[in-house]
């Protein structure tokens, strides 16, 4: 090569390329470290917990003796909370997403709601627990004997462990209502609903947005009303994406511990809840309980076994979500 200016540019190519090689390996190491940690975690869990994955884990309640302890109430509790949360968050989430994507005009209000939802998605989950405690669990003390509401409406409230107002809706015996919700399944499900709602709204909006505009145009062109276009064309097409988003959010909800602890889920629940007003526990709380017990069988082995079962359930949900999305996806 003709290098008339070689004296001015000390290119130093060998060094520079060497640095590049080192750089590549350091970066690869960064990525592999994550993989390594994941592997260590799985191996650790499998080693400590595999022997304790027995039928008792699923058929027994928690007991003081490790050999007799199981997660029955926790597993059922998690599933019920998840179903209820899904029931509550599905209409609210889709409704909000439809409103924001199809109905709302682009003004300061919709912008504000946008920012608001994004902020809510970033609030730590423990704060939602405190929200649930105050709003659903205690209802701001509105139903205690000293509250202004009770005095105003002259309500008959009871004291004691289940304080507050109890009555039967329309006088039907099985439609009992308890105010405030205390530490019930209902309160727990409502708390989790608020937690995952922002994320559901965001993902549902994306699903709705991905429906091509031409579909709406065609439907409007045929003289359909807005709701007809939305409900009969847009939403059905967006539904796979919406459902995937909800299932993924629910699987995240199963894993949340802190909000339910704050809101009052119990760690020792030796029964299966029979109504939404009953106390409950969930898998992560049961696992947390075991981790904090002194005996090795609890904090090392049973905890690991419980986590393995828990992770399998979690993985199943995520797999269902991914499969659903692949199966029902329409490729434009």
């Amino acid at each position: 090569m003709n290098n008339k200016n070689q004296s001015d540019f000390r290119e130093n190519l060998k060094n520079r390329h060497n640095i590049g090689k080192w750089f590549y390996f350091i970066l690869l190491a960064c990525l592999l470290l994550g993989l390594l940690m994941l592997t260590a975690l799985i191996v650790d869990l499998a080693v400590e917990g595999h022997a304790w994955i027995r039928p008792e884990l699923f058929t027994n309640y928690h007991s003081r003796k490790p050999e007799q302890a199981g997660m029955k109430s926790a597993i059922i509790g998690s599933l019920i909370v998840m179903v209820l949360t899904g029931l509550f968050s599905f209409p609210l989430g889709i409704g909000a997403a439809i409103y924001l994507e199809e109905y709302a005009k682009k003004n300061w209000l919709s912008n504000f709601i946008n920012i608001n939802i994004n902020n809510l998605a970033g609030v730590p989950s423990i704060v939602y627990g405190m929200l649930g405690l105050a709003v659903f669990g205690r209802m701001f003390g509105l139903f205690s004997s000293k509250s202004w509401l009770v005095k105003l409406l002259n309500l008959k409230v009871s004291e004691g462990t289940i304080s507050g107002l109890q009555f039967n809706l329309f006088g039907i015996s099985w439609l009992e209502i308890q105010l405030p919700f205390h530490k019930s399944l209902l309160a727990g499900a409502l708390t989790m609903t608020l937690l995952i709602l922002p994320v559901i709204i965001i993902s549902s909006r994306e699903a709705i947005r991905s429906v091509p505009y031409t579909i709406r145009e065609a439907a409007f062109g045929l003289g359909a009303t807005k709701w007809q276009v939305v409900s009969k064309q847009v939403v059905p097409i967006a539904m796979p994406g919406i459902i995937t988003g909800i299932i993924l959010s629910l699987s995240r909800a199963i894993g949340e511990t802190a909000p339910l602890i704050i809101m009052g889920a119990f760690t020792y629940v030796p029964f299966l809840p029979k109504s939404i007003w009953d106390q409950f526990t969930v898998m992560p709380i049961q696992i947390y309980n075991w981790i904090t017990l002194p005996q090795t069988e609890f904090r090392v082995n049973l905890a690991a076994a419980g986590i393995l079962v828990f992770l399998v359930i979690l993985l199943t949900f995520n797999a269902i979500a991914v499969l659903l999305r692949k199966k029902l996806e329409i490729k434009w």
Partner: protein
């Protein structure tokens, strides 16, 4: 009178139904605002109740370093939240030392070096790491990380390490947050236009130089937003730190000691089932309000930085 066509159009009943549906959907949309109001109201009404107690002083809350709310003597000296904040920030900071370089490094690798095949293998790994609940990380901390820390520091360096320590929580938290940092940073890096990379190469720069002197600086505000967000997540994180770091609020910067974070304190009191209206029941709301404000401010800053980044490249 004969109807001119068989198409009846929309009846009054249908039009009314449209209006009702619109209204319902509007309420759904506004519901999220209600949630925010609920959070602010519930946190701050209890907090106000807490501070209006004679035993509690606002000044001492933010400047005092002793946090012993369960002490028999209820005095304002026992309600200094600084040790909780220090515990939270210490853990968040050390976890950032792990999540930031490893996350950014992973992002650079995936965005600049990896072929489609490699990305297809490693991106799911990151997603799995992100999907593992924090309680599992807590278990991992005390069953795997803490013994290693104790071996390293006590056997090799002869330094005492308490069983519950901030370092174990920080390490595990760092790993947990790597996917967040990696995914946001990777998006930022990929947004840097190809033309800038080409300019760098055409001037006789190696790949390392193009990445470190052109691409990363160009993506810097996006990457910064990722870091801030990661820090905010670490501050708000609960279960892993509660399990690994302990429940002893200490005003210390020594990560080998046991500390308590704001979130761990709230959990501790909730397990004790403090009835509402008591000073402990209200103290968790005061701490929760502090936590909320801290993470909210960080999230807002991160959003603003991200907005500025998007303006440059989109």
């Amino acid at each position: 009178m004969k109807k001119s066509s068989t198409f009846l159009g929309h009846s009054k009943k249908e039009i009314n139904r449209e209006k009702i549906i619109s209204a319902i959907l509007f309420l759904c949309g506004m519901f999220s605002v209600l949630i925010t109001i609920g959070i602010i109201f519930s946190l701050f009404s209890e907090t106000i109740g807490f501070f209006s107690r004679p035993e509690v002083s606002l000044l001492k809350f933010f400047t005092g370093t002793t946090w012993r709310p369960l002490a028999s003597k209820i005095s304002s000296d026992n309600f200094g939240v600084l040790s909780l904040i220090t515990g939270t920030l210490l853990i968040a900071f050390i976890s950032a030392l792990i999540s930031v370089p490893l996350g950014l490094g992973s992002a650079i690798f995936l965005s600049e070096f990896a072929s489609e095949r490699i990305r297809d293998i490693f991106k799911p790994v990151l997603e799995i790491l992100a999907g593992i609940p924090s309680i599992v990380y807590g278990y991992f901390a005390i069953s795997f990380i803490t013994p290693i820390i104790r071996t390293v520091f006590e056997n090799w360096f002869g330094v005492e390490v308490s069983f519950f320590n901030a370092l174990s929580a920080s390490i595990v938290l760092g790993i947990m947050i790597i996917p967040t940092v990696a995914s946001i940073s990777e998006d930022a890096l990929r947004s840097v236009p190809r033309s800038l990379r080409e300019a760098g190469y055409s001037l006789g720069a190696t790949r390392f130089e193009v990445i470190t002197k052109v691409v990363v600086p160009a993506a810097l505000s996006g990457i910064t937003a990722a870091f801030i967000l990661a820090f905010s997540r670490a501050v708000g994180e609960t279960m892993a730190v509660t399990i690994a770091a302990g429940s002893t609020p200490q005003m210390t910067l020594n990560p080998l000691k046991s500390v308590q974070t704001m979130t761990a304190f709230i959990v501790q009191v909730s397990f004790g089932d403090a009835p509402s209206g008591t000073i402990n029941g209200q103290s968790i709301f005061a701490v929760g309000a502090t936590l909320f404000v801290m993470t909210f401010v960080m999230n807002v800053i991160s959003d603003l930085v991200m907005k500025k980044f998007r303006e440059e490249y989109e």
